[in-house]
């Protein structure tokens, strides 16, 4: 009884392993196909990105941007517009001011 149970278990395991291996193999093949598909999609997307980057470089050509800036009446930053943090005037907090008035 004991020996036949062991045999039965071993045979079942062998069959299960075989079936498992079979299913696993075909699952891996399917996954691989999916992976190839995705990688090709990535290559295609990268190609698109490359074209878009080139397009972006055309669109952001500084000469073109300068024309747009002039049309919009914008001006470049001047050195005198840059100040140190301690040169900025301290502005009172309107919320605090309101609170002070309420307290009074």
């Amino acid at each position: 009884m004991k020996q036949s149970s062991v045999n039965l278990f071993c045979i079942s395991m062998a069959i299960l392993s075989g079936v498992g291996m079979f299913l696993l193999k075909y699952h891996v093949l399917d996954q691989e196909k999916e992976l190839v598909k995705l990688k090709r999609q990535i290559v295609s997307d990268n190609r698109e990105l490359h074209l878009l980057r080139a397009d972006w470089a055309f669109l952001t050509d500084p000469q073109h941007l300068r024309k747009m800036i002039q049309e919009s009446d914008l001006k470049p930053l001047l050195g005198k517009q840059i100040v140190k943090p301690d040169e900025i005037e301290e502005r009172s907090n309107p919320l605090l001011k309101e609170k002070e008035e309420t307290d009074v």
């Binding site: 990535i42 980057r53 080139a54 470089a57 500084p62 930053l77 050195g79």
Partner: protein, 580 residues
């Protein structure tokens, strides 16, 4: 107590166990014989099956263990889009040159020319490609067996041709080099031939590297545009034939902008003249005139032949045996201190310093800045400086060299030299590659002390008479101008000038150097009918500095104390001006 013995049954109704020896006793002879035959046959078949299994197992063992080859997975494909020729980028990663997938469209005329609908075919193809119908007709009815209809067709044209479905047309996939920034940086990038092989500029210099990876330049395209735009304005305003602008980091030699005008669109390079395709920044050699007074003064201080407090008599022209008298342009006609010689750009004063130094010292000193050799840069467009043969150097030549006559160098030579005078005395070979000088050692050409004195004097040159509300007053700019008769085919052209300005900022801690030079600027109303460098090249140079300083994050210089010899030189100059 009977204990039933369990055993396997051989035959039906064998529930009653028999002694093993008695198994065959109850069978008749015929049955026993048949069983023996069956047993023998079974053994025979089992043997062959066993053998077959052994062979199969052996073969499997051979294939899987002895002859194991790792499986090549289909999924091991690359995920990046591989270009045959990679990009050229600016220092911030902006594309300056790239390759785009396109097609060359060809036809086999032998399959077309005898058809009755050739006219219709030519019209349809011409419409799809935006070409002239007659040109297409000529190509598709040619007598050759192969003809390109159009090279480098874009995806929209390719789709339109595909829709026509003509079997005699073939689209060959290619990569076409494109330059999105147009003429902005044409000279430096250079170009490629029809087979995408570099033929000039960076494209040629880094031809092999571009096959494997992107090449990142030290150029900042925004600074390049600021410089080009200012130079274009200047050329128009001063009616100059052309001009150049160079901007470099004085502490590592990386060139941030290199403009040479006139220029061309590298997407259609053959349309432009040879002059437009000439890169003045690296291929042109020029006499920079008074800018060389900086080197003369630095050499005097370095050799301790002069001190900053020395006074030279510039009250009358300097006469040397066998040469024309040396005069000053708008001379001060008075004795000048060394800083004053630079401030007023005195030829007489500089010549006297040069004579005191001696030509042997000059020869050696100019060599430190590489003024006798081509610059060791990767670009194919490099020029050999020109100078009077060293064995012919004498008193006269030495005095001329002291104010920049008799030696022509490229603009790149000049800014590398001036940068080392200002940056503490370290020479960096200019590079167009980001981080190109990272592993290179710097070379000391003058002492830190001489450099410090040069910085103060260069500051005085620019800031003497500079309006306090000037947008660049806060950046402590220092520099020097130079105007020299233009050379054309080895002869000086009367009335034609090459004017230059080289400026370094901020002078208390030098970071960047700017060179602006005009070819033959005219006397115009805006410059009160003057055409020397102070009226044109300097104005453009300061305009560029004012525009790029905030972009480069250069903080305004609040208080940079000047030494007594500078204060004195300015006081003397102001007093002399009042007297006049």
């Amino acid at each position: 107590m009977f204990k039933k013995k369990r055993d396997s049954f051989y035959f039906p109704c064998q529930e009653i166990p028999l002694k093993k020896m008695d198994k065959w006793r109850y069978l008749d002879m015929t049955t026993r014989h048949q069983l023996k035959i069956a047993s023998g046959r079974m053994g025979f078949v089992a043997f062959w099956f066993l053998l077959l299994y052994v062979v199969i197992i052996g073969r499997l063992f051979y294939l899987t263990v002895m002859n194991y080859e790792p499986r090549t997975f289909q999924s091991e494909v690359q995920t990046h889009y591989a270009l045959n020729r990679h990009n050229i980028l600016d220092r911030n990663g902006i594309i300056l040159a790239t390759s785009l997938p396109m097609w060359d469209l060809s036809v086999n005329p032998a399959l077309v020319r005898d058809r009755t609908d050739v006219d219709e075919i030519a019209e349809k193809i011409a419409k799809a490609l935006g070409m002239n119908t007659a040109t297409v007709y000529e190509k598709i009815t040619s007598l050759s067996g192969f003809e390109y209809i159009k090279r480098g067709i874009i995806p929209a044209e390719y789709d339109a041709i595909n829709w026509l479905g003509y079997y005699f047309l073939t689209a060959h996939p290619i990569e076409k080099r494109v330059y999105p920034q147009g003429p902005l940086i044409s000279h430096l990038l250079g170009g490629v031939d029809i087979d995408n092989i570099g033929i000039s500029g960076i494209e040629k210099a880094y031809d092999t590297e571009l096959m494997d990876k992107d090449v990142q330049l030290s150029i900042d395209i925004s600074i390049q545009e600021i410089a080009r735009s200012a130079l274009l304005q200047g050329i128009e305003k001063f009616k100059a034939k052309g001009g150049l602008a160079l901007i470099m980091d004085v502490n590592n030699g990386e060139v941030l902008a290199s403009v040479s005008l006139p220029d061309y669109d590298p997407n259609v390079p053959l349309k432009e003249s040879e002059k437009a395709r000439f890169n003045q920044a690296t291929l042109g050699t020029y006499e920079f005139g008074s800018v060389f007074k900086l080197f003369n003064t630095a050499l005097g201080l370095e050799t301790k032949t002069i001190t900053v407090n020395d006074v030279f008599d510039a009250s009358k022209p300097l006469k040397l045996k066998g040469a024309k008298a040396i005069e000053d342009y708008r001379g001060q006609n008075r004795p000048l201190t060394v800083p004053e010689i630079l401030i007023h750009s005195s030829n007489i004063g500089s010549a006297q310093i040069g004579l005191k130094i001696g030509w042997e010292n000059q020869k050696e000193f100019f060599g430190r800045f590489g003024f006798y050799e081509k610059l060791p840069i990767a670009l194919p467009e490099r020029a050999q400086p020109q100078y009077i043969k060293k064995e012919k150097w004498n008193e006269v030549e030495s005095s001329r060299l002291s104010y920049g006559y008799g030696i022509s160098v490229t603009p790149l030579h000049l800014i590398a030299g001036v940068a080392s005078l200002a940056n503490g005395g370290l020479y960096h070979t200019p590079t167009f590659i980001k981080g190109g000088n990272k592993d290179k050692s710097e070379m000391r050409v003058i002492s830190e002390d001489t450099s410090q004195k040069m910085r103060h004097m260069m500051w005085a040159v620019v800031n003497y008479e500079l309006a306090k509300n000037s947008p660049v007053a806060m950046y402590a700019v220092g520099g020097k101008t130079g105007s020299r008769q233009a050379l054309e085919k080895g002869h000086y052209v009367e009335g034609s000038l090459r004017t230059s300005f080289v400026g370094v900022f901020p002078m208390n801690d030098p970071k960047y150097i700017v060179l602006v030079s005009y070819d033959d600027p005219q006397k115009v109303k805006e410059t009160h009918m003057f055409n020397t460098a102070g009226w044109n090249a300097k104005a453009t140079g300061l305009q560029i500095i004012g525009d790029i300083a905030p972009y480069l994050g250069v903080a305004p210089v609040e208080d940079w104390k000047q030494p007594a010899y500078i204060e004195r030189a300015i006081e003397r100059s102001v007093a002399a001006k009042k007297r006049r």
